[in-house]
């Protein structure tokens, strides 16, 4: 049918099938890539356009419905201000506000938010915060926690009203001593006016060592924000190629079955089908989809296609066709005969005598203690000191059993990949990945190509959170490109993400703790049963981190600080459910659910102050990380001393900021006037994460100078929306004495950039940052040498290179003489003693300095229904020096929000046949803008001596404490000790009922 509409003021006429969604028409026919695909059922809002001025979701609307209408997309909003000799009006005030406030992380939902904001402000120029949140209610963001987008829109509205707004880069609001409880105004007043009640900058206790720095520690704009605010075609799927095919997967309807016969002949003959591949068509190469360094610390147990399926949603066949419709039709023409096998859906049944064996393939490659005959993907046993002796000496032993669910990373951009042969017959894989170099190395044997004939390019990616630390779908498109010779695009639907994506390992955790009457922990034991699902992705290392981080935080007091008694045992088992994998926090949120719920129970049992009890036993600076000599991820363990630990001050500041003393244990605060069925509660959880994997994680960087005195910084590090490109460029700019704009960063391209292990383990700012600093120091040394000569040749007293300082894009002699960076560059590249000034460096760390945090939560519990409302989350965190307060606080706010879902609403459950309950964002509930609690971030800086700028990690630690803090707050509110997460109304109700 023919349809006509106005698109961004221009008339458009299209001939297309009536079943075409508006999203498909815009992206596939008109290449309007600012409109994104995040789901097919309208919940995520990534595909927003303004239809006659109002935001609508184009994935649940036919193009035909737009006939005769006026459409506006992000492409019509704002431009880069200077386009050569042409000047534009620049970004719109809304886009500008998103850029300056740090409201853009991955940027995938940003175009939708900007459009929604525009629609709101055009009809309501004075929105209050609630109205702004309501305007964002149809757009899911998995990165930001919505606080900064709300602030951006409030600021933009003020600008559009002609009102002055506070500069963001003013003085950092750091008080000399304690942060006051009243410093952070509540943002939830329903009748609030259009004034912004929350502050954009987080509160920071600045480390004295970095107070004089110019760029490190400052709230500079993200280097990719301007393009993301414009919705530029920066993501993997935002690319047109002539002759590109669409791929689809035939998925298993059975949880466990053998493929007896598969006949794809009818599918291959179907019009528009270019290739159908079954297990019979591909070489049988065993590998793992877990993207990790060599050697892979886990079993090799996967094939691109196999003659056995191990979960509902497992791959059966691959199809490439001219259109998505033809590919879908072909799937239905593939005839498969299955022999259904008994399935294991409960991890407790996996190692029972007589259980069906999920991995019986002869190619299976063991790692460490894996034993497929017992469905054991990995086993870990760590004994530190003598736990049994400790238990015998204990005055009290407290035991508890805790459970955490399977949850998904749920990045709004699904997994998506595009593959094609380049003119040299090298395979290009443009993919949304956190681990481009691992993709190349791990896929090479699977595809029958040497690594040198594969180029992996990671463009901007729409969130990852560990889900893309997986070589999960790249092989699908690559096999089909190899089969057809044509470009292939493969993208998961949202249902496929839930069917066959990766997830956090669900765990059952048993704690046993021996104590003295005074609260000294003298023995601590955890037994972990971890469910890796059908494949052993990250099986060993996730569970290892559960012990390595969570069981290391509490060593005991007195003599036990020197010689703690700790035992950690993990069985990681296969089940016939979708594979687990890496998810932000990597075993640590699971472990701290158990440890911090358990510590609360103990403190209450001993009638001790919960915070004093924790701090009495917690690891301190100068002490050995007790697990460092017992276990490491894939390397021999080496002793590691904790140099910095701001935990005590995190607790102190958190107490002050939350008004803990006026709430905890105060009966009057716990009740709600007029609502006798409501109880308020406050809870806390401490946590410790890691910063990179010692002796293993390596990042590389190269820097070269350009004619104009700017620099190209090339890094393998993978910015997945977190802002790592920005904080790396900041560190280079700090060393080189130039503004951030003069460091042009390009990252994550296996042909062009140095190696980096990828974005995981909270490592980039620290590991890749140290590499950047080292490369920048090399460049700075060459600049100093040349500048010293140039300045000396100007006449006057000669200067030596070590007397030169770099600042304000100039090289300065002590007496004030200087040459500009451009003059140095022209001198080096063109004038004399020509050379390319550049530096290449890499860094691997012998230590993994842990960040520490104190997470506070306030809740209201309906004691009759069990409903929990989380009112406020405050995280006080020692992440070392904060390179960029905006990107770092964005990480904390977004992390707390994901963790909030883990606490109360997110879980993936399966029926007795292994079919998932959650297939979309209606059932898998992640938090929206209009239902958020108040979020606050307090940075307590320490200066970590192993990094040139003193940084530690920030990305993962906000995931660790929210669920147990909420659990402890529920306990405080109503006495219900809920040991199974998430804390659903029914779980609270059941505990209350049992206790009644």
């Amino acid at each position: 049918m023919k349809i006509e509409f106005s698109l961004n003021g221009q008339p458009v006429e299209l001939e297309l099938p009536a079943s075409t969604t508006l999203l498909a028409a815009l992206r596939d026919r008109l290449a309007v890539f600012g409109v994104k695909h995040g789901c097919e059922t309208g919940e995520c809002g990534a595909c927003t356009v303004l239809l006659d001025g109002l935001p609508v979701n184009t994935c649940v609307m036919l193009a035909a419905q737009a006939d005769g209408k006026d459409l506006q997309t992000i492409e019509a909003v704002g431009q880069y201000p200077e386009l050569g000799w042409r000047r534009t009006e620049g970004l719109s005030p809304i886009q500008e506000a998103f850029v300056e406030t740090g409201a853009i992380q991955c940027g995938y939902c940003t175009p939708s938010m900007v459009l929604a904001a525009q629609s709101l402000i055009s009809s309501n120029p004075t929105p209050n915060e609630q109205e702004v949140r309501e305007a964002l209610s149809g757009i899911l963001c998995r990165c930001t926690g919505y606080l900064k987008p709300v602030q951006a829109i409030m600021r933009a509205a003020a600008v559009l009203r002609g009102e002055p707004i506070e500069p963001i880069d003013g003085a950092i609001p750091a008080p000399p001593e304690l942060f006051g409880a009243g410093d952070a105004p509540s943002s939830d007043a329903p009748d609030a006016g259009p004034e912004l009640l929350t502050r954009v900058m987080p509160r920071i206790k600045v480390a004295p060592e970095v107070e004089s720095l110019r760029i490190v520690g400052k709230p500079v704009r993200k280097v990719d924000a301007v393009k993301l605010a414009q919705g530029k075609p920066a993501f993997a799927a935002d690319m047109e190629m002539r002759g590109m095919l669409t791929a689809k997967i035939l998925k298993s309807p059975w949880a466990h079955a053998r493929i007896q016969k598969i006949d794809a002949s009818k599918a291959r003959e179907h019009p528009g089908v270019a290739a159908v591949l079954t297990w019979e068509d591909l070489p049988r190469v065993v590998y793992t989809t877990a993207g990790q360094s060599d050697p892979i610390p886990g079993p090799l147990d996967s094939f691109s296609l196999d003659n056995k399926v191990r979960f509902v949603g497992d791959r059966v066949a691959l199809v490439a066709a001219e259109t998505e419709q033809a590919a879908k039709e072909a799937l239905e023409l593939i005839e498969v005969e299955y022999e259904e096998l008994p399935a294991i859906l409960d991890s407790r049944q996996a190692m029972v005598e007589g259980a069906p064996q999920i991995h019986d393939e002869p190619e299976y490659v063991d790692f460490a203690e894996s034993d497929p005959s017992r469905n054991l993907a990995a086993e870990i046993h760590v004994d530190i000191g003598d736990v049994e002796k400790g238990f015998k000496a204990a005055d009290l032993i407290v035991e508890g059993t805790y459970e955490v669910p399977k949850v998904q990373q749920a990045s709004i951009e699904p997994h998506v990949v595009l593959t094609y042969w380049d003119e040299d017959d090298r395979l290009v894989i443009r993919t949304s990945t956190q681990v481009p170099f691992h993709v190349r190395r791990q896929l090479a044997p699977v595809l029958g190509l040497p690594a040198k004939r594969i180029r992996v390019v990671k463009p901007r990616i729409g969130g990852g959170f560990g889900g893309k630390q997986e070589v999960m779908i790249e092989d699908v498109a690559a096999h089909l490109t190899i089969a057809t010779g044509r470009p292939v695009r493969f993208e998961y639907t949202r249902a496929e993400e839930f069917h066959a994506g990766r997830s956090r390992h669900p765990m059952r955790l048993k704690m046993k703790t021996g104590l003295k009457k005074d609260g000294t922990i003298i023995a601590n034991e955890m037994h972990c049963l971890s469910d890796t699902g059908a494949y052993g992705c990250h099986a060993l290392t996730v569970a290892g981190n559960t012990g390595h981080k969570c069981m290391a935080l509490y060593v005991g007091d007195g003599e036990f600080r020197e010689e703690p008694n700790i035992r950690f045992h993990a069985d990681v088992v296969y089940t016939n459910t979708p594979p687990s994998g890496a998810y932000r926090g990597y075993g640590v949120p699971q472990g701290f659910w158990a440890v911090e719920r358990h510590m609360e129970t103990i403190a209450r049992q001993l009638e001790l102050d919960p915070l004093e009890f924790r701090l009495k036993n917690a690891l301190r600076a100068g002490e050995l990380q007790p697990f460092s000599t017992a276990w490491s991820e894939g390397r021999e363990p080496q002793p590691e001393t904790i140099h910095t630990n701001g935990l005590e001050e995190c607790v102190e500041q958190g107490i002050a900021a939350t008004g803990w003393a006026e709430k905890y244990g105060r009966e009057d605060w716990h009740t709600v006037a007029g609502k006798p069925y409501l109880r308020r509660g406050i809870g806390v959880a401490l946590a410790m994460q890691g910063t990179a994997i010692p002796y293993l994680d390596m990042g590389g960087a190269s820097i070269k100078i350009n004619d104009d005195g700017s620099f190209n910084l090339l890094v393998g590090a993978t910015d997945l929306g977190t802002g790592s490109d920005t904080v790396l460029a900041q560190q280079a700019a700090e060393v080189l004495g130039v503004p951030l704009d003069d460091v042009v960063i390009y990252s994550s391209d296996t042909d062009l950039t140095p190696f980096d292990k990828g974005a995981y383990a909270s490592s980039t700012t620290y590991i890749s940052g140290a590499a950047v600093v080292a490369a920048a120091e090399q460049v700075a040394a060459r600049i100093r040498a040349r500048a010293a000569r140039m300045i000396s040749e100007q006449g006057g007293e000669g200067v030596k290179p070590d007397q030169i300082s770099l600042a304000d894009s100039q090289a300065w002699a002590p007496d004030g003489r200087s040459v500009t960076m451009e003059e140095v560059a022209l001198n080096a590249l063109h004038h004399e003693h020509q050379e390319q000034i550049m530096g290449v460096a890499s860094y691997a760390s012998p230590v993994a300095p842990p960040p520490f945090s104190a997470q506070f939560a306030e809740v209201t519990v309906d004691i009759e229904t069990g409903q929990v409302t989380v009112d406020r989350l405050v995280l006080a965190v020692d992440s070392g020096v904060i390179v960029n307060p905006l990107t770092a606080s964005g990480q904390i706010e977004g992390g707390m929000t994901q963790a909030l879902g883990y606490a109360v609403s997110e879980e993936m459950l399966y029926d007795e046949a292994g079919h998932p309950r959650e297939m979309d964002f209606t059932d898998y509930h992640i938090f929206s803008a209009h239902e958020m609690p108040v979020l606050e971030t307090l940075f307590i800086e320490t200066f970590e001596p192993s990094h040139p700028f003193g940084v530690k990690a920030v990305a993962e630690i906000p995931m660790a404490g929210v669920a147990p803090a909420v659990g402890n707050a529920v306990l405080d509110a109503c006495g219900a000790s809920v040991n199974v997460a998430p804390i659903t109304p029914e779980r609270v109700w059941r505990v209350l009922k049992a206790e009644a």
């Binding site: 049918m1 079943s19 097919e40 994935c59 609307m61 036919l62």
Partner: protein
């Protein structure tokens, strides 16, 4: 695969004729991912069936009035009717999804259906001027409209309307929800119970004059209301709690 036909009639008569061979398309937010097997769509957007009117006596909501239409007419409408519309979806979806579409596709966990049922809403069908109670329509099974169009939804303006739900988070779909409506100048209270099954259900009118009695009835009604989201035991107990709580506002002890 047969290609899909799309029609956008300009008059109700034209639409009704086309609907003999096709399926009505309102906002499309539910239908678009479910087009399989449909031969023709009849887009209702130009029919002008989106009025929202409220007087002291009555509410009239056009079938294609959007959920956002209810929100934007908050000044005219009962607060908790608006709240239920908000509860259905975020702004983007509310800009397209319609009230009639929600009535046709909504299940027991629909806040709006629960509230409309408590309001004793009547559906005006076309063709004809037949009015059928929502309760009867919901009980019809999968085909709630019998191929007819919902031209409008009528209800008496309530003297009192309250909606409450229990969910994992404020914007999540309810595990249990209750709506209580009291007609003006009337002592009859209508209580609708939702959060489970194919559609919300109405408590017997005999029970609603006494909060504790109503709670007992609600408990019995949901005695078998277990599914993958909540157990029957929980829903049954919580239904009793919530019904008693909301009715106590109407009949203070």
């Amino acid at each position: 695969m047969t290609s899909l036909e799309y029609h956008r009639p300009q008059t109700l008569d034209e639409a009704l004729e086309l609907l003999e061979q096709g399926v009505p398309l309102a906002g499309g937010t539910w239908l678009t991912p479910r087009l399989r097997g449909i031969r023709a769509l009849v887009d209702l957007q130009d029919l002008g069936l989106d009025r929202i009117e409220a007087t002291d006596a009555a509410l009239v909501i056009g079938g294609t009035a959007t959920l956002q239409g209810l929100v934007e007419n908050a000044a005219l409408l009962p607060d908790d009717l608006v709240r239920a519309a908000r509860q259905e979806a975020g702004w983007n979806i509310r800009n397209k999804a319609t009230v009639a579409g929600t009535i046709v596709t909504g299940d027991g966990r629909s806040a709006l259906l629960t509230v409309l049922l408590a309001l004793d809403a009547e559906l005006e069908f076309a063709p004809g001027d037949e009015r059928v109670s929502l309760g009867e329509v919901l009980g019809r099974g999968a085909d709630r409209t019998g191929g007819k169009l919902i031209a409008a939804i009528h209800a008496a303006s309530p003297g009192h309307l309250r909606y409450a739900q229990v969910a994992r988070s404020p914007a999540d779909r309810p595990l249990l929800c209750v709506a209580v409506a009291l007609a003006k100048a009337d002592t009859d209270v209508r209580v609708a119970l939702g959060g489970f099954g194919a559609y919300p259900q109405l408590l017997s009118m005999d029970a609603t004059h006494d909060a504790q009695e109503a709670a007992k009835v609600a408990r019995a009604m949901y005695a078998g209301a277990g599914d993958a989201w909540a157990s029957a035991e929980y829903r049954s107990s919580t239904a009793a709690t919530m019904v008693a709580r909301l009715l106590t506002e109407v009949h203070p002890e």
